[in-house]
């Protein structure tokens, strides 16, 4: 494959400004949504000894959605190589591993001894 003309890589998909604009609007809507949701009490649900508080769940869900939009479109990951996608996923995985394994220690202390 000739690389002589290859100033831009063949896999270098150029994302159109319309896509960027759409994402921008989505992000701004998400911001408004999350602010609005924080003023409302979304309640809680009890499952056995576990309680799910919906406000933080909603806030994190909106934040994660915004992050995914930025990563996929602004950072071009949707059009990137498998390696880039794998890199992003492993970063998220280790980050979640740090947090969850540390916090499960704290949470399980309340369970007392065996």
């Amino acid at each position: 494959m000739s690389e002589q003309h290859g100033q831009t890589d063949h896999e270098h998909h150029i994302v159109s400004p319309m896509v960027y604009l759409t994402i921008l609007l989505a992000l701004l809507v998400g911001t408004g949504l999350t602010v609005w949701a924080s003023y409302i009490d979304l309640g809680e649900t009890h499952i056995g000894s576990l309680t799910i508080f919906w406000n933080p769940v909603a806030a994190l869900a909106i934040a994660c959605t915004k992050m995914i939009l930025v990563v996929l479109f602004f950072m071009h990951v949707k059009y990137s190589t498998k390696l880039t996608k794998l890199t992003v996923i492993s970063g998220v995985f280790i980050f979640l591993g740090l947090i969850s394994m540390t916090l499960t220690d704290y949470m399980s202390r309340a369970w007392g001894r065996w």
Binding site: V71, F74, H76, I99
Partner: protein, 250 residues
């Protein structure tokens, strides 16, 4: 896994002399250089994710332990400024992405314009943060520096916040935990702001080079990779905003 991208020609010796000026000698092709540096930037962003990860862990633990203190303390943050800052950063991410597009389309004027707008938006963000930090300083909410829990043990002493949220008075031992909240606030937003400052400084340098036409001849690597950094800083704020400002406003 075969993502080897280097292709050696039998005319390797000739190809060596034909590469564009911005291709470094240890790379075989421009494409390899772009791929490698792009991947390197992603790896660097992973290190940043883990760097902030320690702070997020501390936050999640302490918020869980001292939720009432965190709720009341978070009311001290002005939601108007916070939302504005979030919008500013999201907009700056958009303009940065447009800058990358301009570089890819080789439109120098547009590139410089978008970089400058991004630069200005970054300064606006820092300006708003300065206003917020200053307010914290005035109200003695900076941990380790004449920290005062008076606004929490006696909420009516702060009419502006009290009229909006009508928080109950906290007992002294819980009120003292608000200092942990503010430590996290300053540590996380401060670390974020430090990354913004570094980003803005680099952006200034990129604007100078963009004006000279360095990035509109096909060499988009710097702009694209800086864009990744800038978007990452935006993503951190996308999480900081709900975690710090929106704990509970009802």
């Amino acid at each position: 896994m075969s993502d080897s991208t280097a292709i050696a020609h039998d005319t390797a010796a000739e190809a060596h002399h034909e590469h564009p000026p911005y291709q470094r000698h240890h790379f075989e092709t421009v494409s390899q250089q772009f791929d490698a540096t792009n991947f390197a930037m992603w790896l660097f962003l992973l290190t940043e994710v883990m760097f902030f990860g320690g702070l997020f862990t501390a936050y999640l633990l302490l918020r869980n332990w001292y939720y009432p203190a965190f709720v009341v303390a978070s009311h001290q943050l002005n939601i108007g400024w916070g939302t504005a800052n979030t919008a500013v950063l999201i907009l700056s991410s958009f303009t940065m992405a447009m800058g990358v597009w301009s570089a890819e389309m080789r439109r120098k004027g547009m590139l410089v314009l978008f970089l400058v707008i991004t630069f200005i938006l970054g300064l606006v963000f820092l300006g708003i943060k300065t206003i917020e930090y200053h307010e914290k300083w005035e109200k003695h909410h900076i941990p380790g520096w004449h920290y005062s829990i008076q606004n929490f043990t006696n909420p009516t002493s702060d009419p502006e916040v009290y009229n909006e949220y009508h928080d109950k008075a906290l007992p002294v031992d819980i009120a003292s935990k608000t200092e942990l909240y503010f430590f996290l606030y300053f540590a996380m937003t401060g670390m974020h702001a430090l990354h913004m400052i570094i980003g803005i400084a680099i952006l200034g340098y990129l604007i100078v080079r963009a004006r000279a036409g360095d990035f509109t001849t096909g060499h988009v690597t710097y702009i694209e990779n800086f864009g990744l950094y800038w978007h990452f800083v935006d993503i951190i704020w996308i999480f900081l905003f709900p975690l710090l400002y929106l704990i509970s406003r009802h």
